[in-house]
Subunit: 249 residues, 2 copies
């Protein structure tokens, strides 16, 4: 990308009249996006952290994030960050959480950042993590290291947002591969909410909702009765949503 694509288009057409201050003075903010990427590895909810390759905070652990280009949409920027990191083209879930703008949060100047959370499934993150293996780590949400900027706070808020959303929308499925067992699903929810759930009751609720398509396949090579595999029934979800059905957990 060339410098020409970054014109400095300071506006001058209007003035903020009430204080007699030229409006250019208000156009000196920097602006970034940060992504809290959740994944489920080893039956635990983890967050993707990177080692920063640029100043400030070079070498420290941080969330994947970047400055936004002057002509780039917020959501596009967040998707770009995640795509550059993992190669994912279509991110199933990417939600804005909150915006952080403390005057002194960035040593370079006044930089606001828009927090996001994303959910990725094992089909995706396994192959691609290796290309950046040195500086991408999946970290248990209970064991976060010291982080650059206010990224600790951003993660905490993202986790809260994830928990709220997970009660109302079937986003747990986005953390699973295409085919999964009911136990896989239960583990996801136990991990998100840090609780234990009753097996029988969990199964009944999930199956009664009509969002699962039972496949003919079962697990293989397990030292116990093999579990049936299911997949998320997107079509059924869309029809149910239309009739003011609501996912509740």
């Amino acid at each position: 990308m060339s410098e020409k694509e970054f014109p400095l288009h300071i506006p001058s057409k209007y003035h903020v009249s009430y204080y007699q201050i030229p409006i250019e003075r208000f156009f000196q903010f920097g602006f970034s996006v940060d992504c809290v990427v959740f994944g489920c590895l080893e039956n635990t909810l983890k967050v993707m952290l990177v080692e920063r390759g640029v100043q400030p905070f070079k070498g420290q652990w941080a969330l994947p994030g970047d400055l936004v280009y002057p002509n780039e949409e917020i959501s596009t920027a967040a998707e770009r960050v995640l795509r550059d990191l993992t190669g994912i083209q279509d991110i199933p879930t990417m939600e804005q959480t909150k915006t952080y703008g403390k005057v002194d949060r960035h040593p370079v100047g006044r930089v606001l950042t828009v927090g996001h959370y994303a959910l990725v499934n094992p089909d995706i993150y396994n192959p691609h993590a290796s290309s950046w293996a040195d500086n991408i780590h999946w970290v248990d949400i209970e064991e976060l290291p010291g982080l650059a900027f206010d990224h600790q706070e951003i993660i905490e808020d993202a986790l809260e947002a994830l928990r709220t959303d997970a009660r109302k929308k079937p986003i747990g499925f986005d953390l699973l591969p295409e085919k999964f067992t009911l136990n896989d699903l239960q583990i996801i929810y136990e991990s998100i909410f840090s609780t234990k759930l009753d097996k029988g009751n969990f199964r009944k609720r999930m199956l009664n909702m009509g969002l699962l398509k039972a496949l003919e396949e079962t697990q293989e090579n397990v030292a116990h009765r093999p579990a049936r595999l299911y997949s998320f029934d997107t079509q059924s979800y869309e029809t149910l949503k239309a009739k003011d059905f609501s996912f509740e957990i």
Copy 2:
């Protein structure tokens, strides 16, 4: 406020190395806050709108909002907007909702805005509205006029956030005066969720939660049996919150 308080402090210490673009280029964003102020008038949930006094969109209906000063916190800016408008010093509820940043959302340049919602009660908004009477209106949420910028969308999202929060936190009380009847409270919730609720069941739930202090006072000069007045028991709420009690409606 003088111009001196608005220095142009373009940073130059660091460079974004991966594209060889000087970091100054990324510091050309404008940044504002917008407030969706909810109040309950005539037993209906309303939103405060203002007639814009400056360009762009001068003369059109819009949300109260303003550009943020380079050394001002986001929350401070939102409180300032509301204080300038209503004289309120301590806003009981002011929550960030979402950030809007479409490239073309502002005709002057790239301006991001952080949406907020605020709840105000009749004790406050009645006296102060008159000082700006010409250009402040309370509008029924079902009957919004055409609005400047993307303010329609900001209101819709704020209403959704209000509804979500109102189910989990006792914020309905912030829309009421100090002393209120159970029916007043019921009307608030009916208005927020646009539904009808059963009187008996609503009373039972509210009283059982232990968040209401029954006063010795009753209504006066009503053409029916006068209702008992209640106030919100802040102290009880704090103790209950500590024991992982959760408000649910």
